[in-house]
Symmetry: C2
């Protein structure tokens, strides 16, 4: 820091302080996750799509976009990039051909199989300092926070 920059002290409310800490914790972990994803050529939204497809088999694009809170047009672009890389496949629903159902390819499953353990390690490293019941407590508090916002 250069000499002439002047830090000022201001008081901040409990809520603002809590937010600053929440943000810092999130960003710190999120950066680690992105570092783990990048060598595999994956962005965060792309990983979210893949991880969702691992749990839900063959959703229509509209379902997918709603589940992940993404605009349908933008999801379309994300799916294009994933499909170009051969991680994902679109197949029209045989009954109602307006629907595209989205599936992981074998390659997509393989990529997930290598990426997910790396991310688990990041998370174990982050939360490992907490004991099991502390983790549960934190989780409950964050769940309350999440629900409180809606």
């Amino acid at each position: 820091m250069t000499a002439a920059s002047v830090p000022a002290q201001t008081t901040r409310s409990r809520a603002v302080l809590a937010w600053v800490h929440l943000m810092r914790a999130f960003v710190a972990i999120d950066r680690r996750i992105e570092q783990a994803l990048r060598p595999h050529g994956l962005t965060h939204p792309q990983f979210e799509v893949l991880a969702h497809l691992r749990r839900v088999h063959g959703p229509a694009q509209l379902d997918l976009s709603q589940s992940l809170l993404l605009d349908k047009g933008n999801l379309c672009g994300i799916l294009n990039r994933l499909a170009e890389d051969g991680l994902v496949e679109r197949r029209p629903d045989p009954v109602d051909r307006r629907y595209n159902r989205v599936y992981l390819t074998t390659r997509g499953r393989e990529v997930l199989a290598t990426v997910i353990p790396e991310i688990d390690m990041v998370l174990e490293g982050a939360f490992g300092a907490f004991g099991p019941e502390e983790q549960d407590g934190l989780r409950r508090a964050l769940g309350r926070l999440d629900r409180g916002v809606e």
Copy 2:
């Protein structure tokens, strides 16, 4: 959800669950903040810069980029947009003219004066369900989490 999508049940570790909750809580609040910023034409990084300048007077751009963990080239672009909108001002350091010192303009201060209370309301709404000592507890846990990652 369309009929043919198939949810699958998998077990997830405590750490992953804690992360999911952390992420959901963060994203929920973050979206609210962005909604509050958008009518003022501010993006999140732009607000971060302005908020930092409210506390630190006249930092050099390099200091600023390091404080906010932004690349100096990208910070330059963000400052250009803020300067175009008249919220921020660059003045070369009279002693060493390699440095640009960055200042809030009067307009920038005015915008902050209207935006910050709105964001405070978002945060009070989010954390208001917690009592003071609960907020402090959450804050301490998140602080530990943040430090543990580094």
